[in-house]
């Protein structure tokens, strides 16, 4: 199979190069109270079968016959019990904008567009944490949202805005793609100054490409899929593909230390950036050259990477690019159980032969993925599927309630991909793994992109869901996964959740010394007075369990305000002090006052 399309998102773009209007209504093509595009969503049709609407994704228009059964059986939910969302934003629920008039006057003089419409402000008041989306759907009153939104067009616009913000003591919150899941975009309720959301979406150009050094200089507001599409036109790619890449921005990746699915080939964001330009209240930080590595004291990039909008605005980034790979191939391997799968991934990491992506889904996720299989058209395919199942479960003796699947993505020139593929399958075989075909692999990656849409579907039927992640040394992966799941189950029970929750995990990245583990967690909240609170307590307990089992506070989502309380424990109080002193020096008046991290 060639390089066709997991790029599920083929036809999509949300880049709008608008010139004259003052308002840049992302909300016209994107949901205001859920994930992704307005025209793309799951629903149960009149026959009770699930389908996915819209034309943007490869599973469009397909009927998913097993999803309803899976959904009802897993959650004890019913398609007859709906919990619909408030259809439209109620403007009266939005607190009036408290504007700093002097700032507004000076801003007008610069000609930089801005808005204080309720829709614009609410859209930028949240990320995609469960509690944020739940509140939007319920039509709850907002405590604090940005008072206005500005759309700088370039680095110099940002310099002007930050200068004015300092002059008039206005609070700035940078806004990129809005895909944060750490409460990082929430306005601190105690903030009394005017809060201005600085939307970087108009800074979305590739300024130049340097083919000699294979780097590109890009404005930081560019959205992941646009960056890849534009680079592809010139025959290049960055290879940075976080699961949120349809909507998340380059600046956001830098600010949260993002990680991409194909980091094994291309590296994580910190490996990809060569140069960063940041506008802070003290002025602009940047390095004087583009040397590929430097010994000039601690790397100042590492103050910026993961700073979560607390120091300034990332405006331009020089990052590595690669020629588009000649050949791409998906694959999958079925293992008898999770232990065997983890052992295989560990061995692959040890031999340093990980494909561009290798992920191990546990049994729950395997079954979930199965529920997303589209209707099979021919009897023959049905028959083949049946045979496969028979071979694996009966002939090979795999327990369908134990078996797990690893999904693989290989990239490179054809010959090497095939060689590489053989090497990996040979290792898998020593751990009892059976090759299970390209389709299963590809479906696994589709799941990644549609999972957030599925959460919206769940919320229509009394099911809340969220994901969280960690990184952990190899020898603790199994223990951590087991204990966190068990902890979630137990906490749900203790907190009165009436139905068995779904807890599922997958190993999504491998490193020399450990792995990244991603958890999904969902439950039917019928009968609970405050499902969001219950959910948050359970997630809190799960995070404590992660930390007690040797996992990190976060692998790539970041800290935001959601996980601030564990920072001291994670990096020591001296470490927090070091970060604080950088903040105090760069931003003494807390202009970048989103209060993330510290």
């Amino acid at each position: 199979m060639g390089r066709s399309s997991v790029r599920v998102l083929a036809a999509a773009t949300i880049t709008m190069t608008l010139t004259s209007t003052v308002c840049f209504p992302r909300q016209e093509i994107m949901k205001w109270n859920g994930w992704g595009y307005s025209d793309s969503k799951f629903l149960f049709n009149k026959k009770g079968q699930a389908e996915f609407t819209g034309k943007r994704y490869s599973i469009l228009g397909m009927v998913l016959p097993s999803l309803q059964d899976w959904f009802e059986n897993t959650f004890g939910a019913s398609v007859n019990h709906k919990s619909p969302a408030t259809p439209a934003l109620n403007a009266s629920a939005v607190p009036p904008a408290s504007l700093n008039e002097a700032f507004v006057e000076d801003l007008k003089a610069t000609g930089i567009p801005f808005s204080h419409e309720a829709e614009d402000r609410v859209f930028r008041a949240h990320g995609h944490c469960l509690h944020e989306i739940f509140a939007l759907r319920e039509g709850k009153k907002f405590e604090r949202v940005p008072d206005m939104v500005v759309w700088p067009n370039c680095h110099n616009d940002v310099v002007k805005i930050v200068e004015l913000a300092c002059k008039h003591n206005v609070c700035l919150i940078p806004y990129g793609g809005g895909t944060s899941v750490t409460s990082a975009l929430e306005c601190p309720p105690e903030e009394t100054r005017c809060i201005v959301s600085l939307d970087t979406s108009q800074m979305n150009r590739i300024l130049w490409i340097d083919e000699k050094n294979l780097v590109a200089h890009v404005e930081a507001g560019i959205i992941g899929q646009d960056l890849e599409r534009l680079l592809n036109e010139s025959g290049y790619c960055t290879g940075h593909e976080p699961d949120s890449m349809e909507f998340s921005s380059l600046g956001g990746w830098v600010a949260t230390r993002a990680s991409g699915m194909k980091k094994n080939v291309y590296g994580n964001i910190e490996d990809l950036v060569i140069h960063i330009k940041v506008v802070t209240p003290r002025g602009v930080i940047e390095k004087s050259c583009q040397g590929p590595r430097m010994s000039t004291g601690p790397d100042i990039h590492h103050f910026i990477l993961g700073s979560e909008g607390t120091l300034g605005v990332v405006t331009e980034v020089t990052m590595k690019i690669r020629p588009i790979p000649e050949y791409q191939k998906y694959g999958s391997v079925v293992f008898p159980n999770f232990e065997a799968g983890v052992a295989c991934l560990r061995e692959v990491a040890k031999q340093r032969c990980a494909p561009a992506s290798i992920r191990l889904m546990d049994n729950e996720q395997f079954q979930f993925g199965h529920a997303l299989k589209p209707q099979v058209s021919s009897i023959f395919t049905n028959f083949v599927e049946g045979l496969k199942k028979f071979y694996i479960t009966k002939f090979k003796g795999f327990d369908p309630h134990q078996l797990v699947v690893a999904t693989l993505l290989f990239e490179g020139d054809r010959e090497r991909v095939l060689q590489h593929e053989k090497q990996v399958y040979d290792i898998a075989a020593t751990f009892g793994g059976l090759a299970a075909g390209e389709d299963n692999g590809q479906r696994g990656y589709i799941l990644t992109f549609v999972i957030a849409y599925l959460r919206d579907l769940g919320m229509d039927y009394y099911v809340v869901a969220e994901s969280f992640e960690t990184s952990v040394p190899w020898d603790r992966v199994l223990d951590l996964c087991r204990n966190v799941k068990e902890r979630i189950n137990r906490e749900c029970k203790e907190r009165g959740v009436q139905f068995q929750p779904l807890t599922s995990c997958r190993v999504t990245q491998t490193y020399d010394a450990g792995a990244c583990v991603y958890f999904y967690f969902a439950f039917n909240y019928r009968g609970l007075a405050d499902p969001v609170h219950t959910y948050e307590r359970v997630e809190h307990a799960a995070r404590e369990e992660i930390l007690a089992n040797g996992g990190s506070l976060s692998h790539h989502h970041g800290v935001g305000k959601l996980r601030k309380e564990w920072m001291k424990e994670s990096i020591s109080s001296l470490g927090v002090g070091m970060l604080q002193s950088v903040k105090d020096y760069v931003d003494p008046d807390n202009i970048f006052g989103n209060r993330n991290l510290l």
Binding site: R482, E486, A548, G550
Partner: protein, 693 residues
């Protein structure tokens, strides 16, 4: 107020409930008496295991252990230190494991099921098990690795445990047993095949042994192959008081939780209460210095005559499973284990050590709380305070009074329903006719008649055997009364500053009784609460005042602890007056014994026989060591005791106010005659095993 500040902690779970009756017990012998033992032994046995794991063959288990990273690490370490090749060390490890490992076989279990059915029916009237506890255990076994922690009063304990689990179709435990059983060739192997694994009694510095042992236990625990059973007290309590818990195995079974290898570990305290202990008089003799018979098969066969006696009933109470995870919540930060490879053995951190220690005490207290007490233990307590004997009617009356007191202190008392008190008393006396007898309306202790002429020291010894045997029943009720009794003593004798005195006693007796480290204030409050509750004292403002009706309670309590106070005092006396320089630890026990015998022989008016018990002597010494009144110094292979006479004297003073023993030193013993020398002569003949038939 005191009552509101009385902490109803973990400990009150089982015993604070005053309606705690023994209704929930089922007599498992009843069915055995009505149906075929053979059928029972051969019936289908298919217990549910932890999370449905498949049972692991003994050989596979050994392989997992021998291939573990943990063991490999230690093998390499030992190999580097000793210069031996790793293969050789690995071989050694394999031999150790071979010697240690169980070889559970269902056929052997079935044999025991048959044989024990026969034996139990002959020996006991009832074997009662709390059904609820069995249900809880069944649940727990499926959810988490389970550690069974029974009390240990008899050899019978672990056979009985396995017998019960087999009866209820529960997973059979693997049991840590002392190596001494291995001496009983055939029986040792039988026990091994019924799930026992054997550990050496001491292997202090042997890294390899420790590694094999701990990995063996942890492997079974982590995989949930079988419940693990061991005795927290380490050995059978010869006194029937709970012993200070040993922490080694508990550390091992808890560590997998701290390291995240298991989600939780459930500790299940099990209280096994015997109405009559098979080893009753054997224990008393052992405590008096007659070496215990070496475990041998022929010895066991001789014990057959035991089969002709009635040992009453047994109550086995399976306690609420205690979740280590819940206990450790907020006490141990598990993330401190994150920075060290988990397969490298490490001394537990201080935080962990104190947690494990605390947990061990709590479990032993739970064992105590769930011990079923028979009327006889109340009667024994009264008899011991009246060694000259007392009227049957008085004993009956006082027993009734004591029953009321015990019940209001939430004792788990098995008092027959609807039976007249006189009947209860007389049937207790009948069952224990070897210990007490009624003659002419007076009840007194039975003293064994030795063959031939009786020397004074022989008389003393016989008397001591009967007192110590009787004391082993009184001891069963001590945990119920201990705290208020210490307060009573503090009030009656040492009343200057009641709390200080209480805490002195608390500290002094913390080897003799189960007093959780750090619980002193809590225990004091509990003591106050209980005494106030029964109206024995009042607490206007900060004072503690005895009430008019409190007199009998306080003086009973005082009498209850009297033997301990006196015993400790004798030890202090000995150390101050008689102990020679260079007294070694080995000499200490016989020397105290002789000292006391001589005192008795010369003065004839001493009655604290319990000080002859090596248990009390050891505990007293431990207390003095803890209080820095005595130091241990190691001189060339010998441990010598250095006595700080001033300190010992002042402890003696505090203990001895108003006590008759303080008059003893006025008794003149001819100067120049070494008391110890005399005693040794007297004693050597008196207490050799040959003396006892």
């Amino acid at each position: 107020s005191v009552s509101s500040s009385f902490p109803f902690s973990l400990l009150s779970i089982s015993s604070s409930d005053e309606t705690n009756t023994i209704d929930g017990f089922e007599d498992i012998l009843e069915e055995r008496r009505n149906s075929s033992d053979l059928k029972y032994a051969l019936r289908c046995y298919a217990p549910v295991l932890y999370k449905g794991v498949t049972p692991c063959k003994a050989n596979m288990l050994k392989n997992i252990v021998l291939q573990s990273d943990q063991l490999h690490y230690v093998i390499n370490q030992v190999s580097q230190e000793s210069g031996e090749a790793p293969d050789i060390i690995q071989e050694e490890a394999s031999v150790i494991l071979e010697e240690m490992a169980h070889r559970l076989q269902i056929s052997t279990v079935r044999f025991f099921a048959f044989a024990l059915s026969k034996a139990f029916k002959t020996l006991f009237q009832h074997v009662c098990v709390n059904e609820e506890g069995i249900q809880r255990l069944q649940q727990a076994i499926q959810e988490h690795p389970v550690v069974l922690l029974p009390s240990h009063r008899s050899y019978m304990d672990f056979l009985l445990m396995s017998y019960i689990l087999y009866t209820y179709d529960l997973a059979l435990p693997v049991i840590a047993a002392g190596m001494d059983f291995m001496g009983m060739k055939f029986v040792g192997e039988m026990l091994r095949m019924s799930g026992a694994f054997f550990i050496r009694r001491s292997f202090g510095g042997d890294k390899l042994y420790w590694a094999v042992f701990s990995e063996y236990v942890k492997t079974m625990l982590r995989n949930g192959f079988a419940p693990i059973e061991f005795f927290l007290e380490g050995t059978r309590s010869r006194t029937c008081k709970s012993l200070t818990p040993k922490l080694g195995l508990l550390n091992i079974v808890i560590e997998p939780f701290f390291k995240g290898e298991v989600f939780d570990v459930n500790l299940v305290p099990v209280s096994i209460s015997y109405e009559r202990i098979l080893e009753e008089s054997l224990y008393a003799r052992e405590l008096l210095g007659v070496p215990k018979p070496k475990e041998s098969t022929s010895g066991l066969l001789k014990a057959r005559r035991i089969l002709s006696e009635d040992y009453g009933s047994i109550h086995v109470y399976f306690g609420q499973p205690v979740s280590v995870r819940s206990l450790a919540q907020g006490k141990v930060n598990r993330s401190t284990y994150n920075l060290f490879p988990r397969h490298i053995p490490r001394k537990p951190m201080e935080e962990t050590q104190s947690f494990v220690n605390d947990t061990a005490y709590r479990i032993v207290r739970l064992q105590e709380d769930n011990m079923v007490l028979k009327p006889w233990v109340l009667m024994a307590s009264l008899l011991l305070q009246n060694l000259e004997g007392l009227e049957l009617s008085v004993l009956t009356e006082q027993t009734v009074w004591l029953r009321g007191l015990a019940l209001s202190y939430a004792a788990f008392l098995d008092w027959p329903d609807h039976a007249p008190t006189a009947k209860v008393v007389s049937s207790s006396l009948a069952l224990h006719r070897g210990l007490a007898c009624v003659s002419g309306g007076r009840v007194s202790l039975v003293v064994g008649e030795p063959l031939g002429p009786v020397t004074p020291e022989e008389a003393l010894f016989n008397r001591a055997v009967s007192v110590l045997s009787c004391a082993s029943y009184r001891n069963q009720v001590l945990h119920v009364f201990l705290r208020p009794a210490m307060l009573a003593v503090a009030m009656l004798h040492l009343s200057d500053e009641v709390y200080n005195c209480f805490s002195f006693l608390w500290d002094m007796f913390s080897n003799d009784f189960i007093l959780c480290p750090g619980d002193i204030v809590q225990d004091f409050e509990e003591a106050c609460y209980l005494l106030v509750k029964t109206g024995a004292v009042q607490m206007p403002q900060q004072d503690i005042v005895m009430t008019d009706i409190g007199q009998p309670t306080l003086s009973f309590f005082n009498g209850l602890l009297e033997p301990f106070l006196q015993g400790y005092q004798v030890v202090c006396r000995y150390l101050c007056e008689e102990a020679s320089e260079g007294l070694t630890e080995k000499q200490y026990i016989p020397a105290v014994r002789s000292f006391y015998s001589v005192l008795c022989v010369f003065t004839g008016n001493l009655r604290c026989y319990e000080v002859l018990s090596s248990d009390m002597q050891k505990n007293a010494l431990a207390a003095l060591l803890r209080m820095d009144a005595v130091r241990k110094v190691k001189v060339a292979d010998q441990v010598t005791l250095i006595v700080n006479k001033m300190a010992v004297n002042s402890i003696d003073d505090i203990l001895g106010k108003n006590r008759m023993i303080s008059h003893i030193n006025q008794t003149q013993i001819s100067p120049g005659l070494s008391l110890v020398a005399v005693a040794e002569d007297l004693y050597r003949d008196g207490l050799t095993p040959s003396y006892i038939r």
